[in-house]
């Protein structure tokens, strides 16, 4: 439903978005990741028709944003970064305005507004000027505006930025509830969010796509993927030496009262670890599998260090 076709944006000599191509289909929640200044917002602004692409284009529900921006804008809901809204309006007048602009009037508009207000949990502040609302409520007003017309495509630029954990949870619940019916793009630099709500992650850095895979695949790129935490009843140093000699294990670190074994090929090593310890009559007190740290992967791929995709001997 969303197609980015060699989308490029230059500001003077600077290329902010460089030849970005990907598609998002119905039912997908795409996490759009990247460090600050990577071009996330610029890309979203081009899809939503706010900025004109320098080259390439984006299509939403089959409409080309270069030739038919108004149709694109009517088929998507957009929460801009920071959820801007006119501070002197109340959520009620603001949402009515948005409903009118989107072609609803009279009772129809009123129904839309109250449905969106309910989804975004805005009751109690509907008559208060937006300028006086807290950051969390402002964000929700922006969300209500984006959801008002029940769009097939939803684009949200950092929807949980600056919210407290409860509010973050609510926003994620909202996104979760909509999955399946829509194509959704959520930009963020909070990695837990990707694990929590996204079915796919696209990472950009320096305006280019550097990764496009599922969150699990991203995690598998981590050096620590399939590593094993193990607690041993006995001398840690002995156990460390024993495990270190195994071929499958790259190295063993002592971390507090546990050992962490790094898998050589990022393949599964839990069996080998427990076998080895039992063979040497060491009691295992705990065993825990590490999925990998998204943070590490994120840092590695956005800073140009290659974090190879999982594909070792055992994977």
């Amino acid at each position: 439903m969303i197609e980015l076709d060699h989308l490029t944006k230059t500001f003077g000599p600077k290329t902010a978005v460089n030849d970005v191509t990907f598609t998002v289909s119905k039912g997908e929640v795409l996490g759009f990741l990247g460090p600050n200044g990577a071009g996330k917002t610029t890309t979203m602004r081009m899809i939503t028709g706010f900025l004109a692409p320098s080259a390439g284009t984006a299509r939403v529900c089959g409409h080309d944003v270069r030739t038919n921006p108004v149709r694109v804008k009517s088929s998507l809901g957009y929460l801009p970064e920071g959820a801007p809204a006119w501070p002197d309006m109340t959520p009620d007048t603001f949402l009515h305005f948005a409903a009118n602009i989107r072609g609803f009037s009279g009772k129809d508009a009123t129904n839309r507004v109250s449905a969106a207000a309910e989804k975004a949990n805005l009751f109690g502040v509907m008559a208060q000027p937006i300028g006086t609302l807290s950051k969390g409520y402002k964000r929700r007003v922006g969300l209500a505006q984006a959801l008002l017309h029940d769009p097939a495509v939803l684009i949200m630029d950092e929807p949980t930025d600056g919210l407290d954990p409860n509010q973050k949870h609510e926003v994620r619940k909202l996104i979760d509830a909509m999955r399946g019916e829509k194509a959704i793009i959520v930009s963020t630099h909070i990695l837990e969010e990707v694990e929590a709500v996204c079915s796919r992650a696209v990472v950009i850095a320096g305006g280019r796509v550097v990764a496009d895979e599922t969150p699990a695949e991203l995690e598998a790129r981590s050096e620590r993927h399939n590593g094993v935490w193990v607690g041993v009843d006995g001398d840690l140093a002995t156990a460390q030496a024993l495990l270190d000699s195994l071929a499958e294990i790259a190295r063993v670190e002592i971390d507090g009262d546990r050992l962490f074994c790094v898998s050589r090929n990022r393949g599964p090593i839990a069996n080998a670890v427990s076998q080895c310890l039992r063979d040497n009559s060491l009691n295992i007190t705990s065993l825990q599998l590490e999925r990998g740290r998204l943070d590490d992967v994120f840092r590695a791929i956005t800073q140009g260090r290659t974090a190879p995709r999982a594909g070792g001997a055992n994977a």
Binding site: K9, F11, R45, T48, G49, F50, L51, A52, S54, P69, V70, R71, K73, S74, Y78, P80, E81, G82, P84, A85, W86, P87, D88, M89, T93, F97, A98, N100, I101, R102, P129, Q145
Partner: protein
């Protein structure tokens, strides 16, 4: 048309939820009154017409209209709400026209509230009410001209102060285009045709015609084409901001 009307309505409402509208209207009425009675010598002229009142409108507008127009786009750009506005399913032209019409209608309200002066001349004498109406219409169109200039200049900057200063300066030049102050600048190097052209741009000259009670189609066309031209520039400026 529907979208323009919706934007106009929203903008219009936004004038009246802040003190801006009331302050503007009060200042406008006070200044219009002061000019009329002190500088214009309304009573001393001993004539039942609106000349003493209308002749100061161009100068009043040079100062006050930029105060209205400066926020039209600069505020949206600065607050980031332009992103919201321009990602709604409307065209730039609809947004520009809607905002302009709201500002124009608002100025119309301020102008209409000077009606006591019209009552006064009708009480004191037997005025030519056709000429009075022509004067009001002329003043309204002139205000539209200033607003279009201001609206355009508001879209080239994110600073409302810069928008105000630019608009006031350009409005002043347009107003005084027929006066030696501006003409001498061109006289030194430009030909007679250029001089005639610059003179023909003068708001003052066109407005003077209207004050005399003659609504000449040429003067109306002048203001309407000026509005169209600057609103077109306005659309270009907003699109340019969007990187098109």
């Amino acid at each position: 048309m529907r979208n323009i009307a919706i934007i106009l309505k929203r903008e219009m409402a936004s004038y009246f939820v802040t003190p801006l509208a009331y302050i503007f209207i009060v200042i406008f009425l006070l200044m219009a009154g002061a000019f009329t009675f002190y500088l214009g010598g309304f009573f001393e002229r001993d004539q039942a017409d609106l000349n003493a009142f209308l002749q100061f409108h161009p100068w009043l507008y040079v100062v006050l209209i930029p105060a209205i127009s400066m926020r039209l786009w600069a505020e949206e750009i600065n607050a980031g709400t332009i992103e919201l506005l321009m990602t709604l399913p409307i065209t730039t032209t609809q947004a520009v026209i809607g905002k302009f019409l709201a500002a124009w209608a608002f100025t119309g309200v301020a102008l209409a509230l000077t009606f006591p002066i019209w009552i006064t001349i009708n009480y004191l004498g037997e005025p030519d009410n056709g000429a009075a109406l022509a004067g009001y219409i002329g003043s309204f169109f002139m205000a539209g001209g200033y607003l279009a200039v201001g609206s355009f200049l508001s879209a080239v900057t994110r600073s409302q102060v810069i928008a105000f200063v630019l608009a006031a300066a350009v409005c002043f030049v347009l107003t005084a285009a027929g006066a030696p102050l501006v003409l001498n600048f061109f006289a030194a190097w430009a030909g007679e045709e250029v001089l005639a052209f610059v003179r023909s741009l003068s708001f003052l000259d066109h407005f003077q015609n209207i004050i005399k009670g003659v609504v000449d189609l040429r003067d109306v066309v002048y203001f309407l084409s000026l509005i169209t031209l600057f609103l077109f520039c306005n659309v270009v400026a907003v699109n340019r901001f969007k990187g098109a």
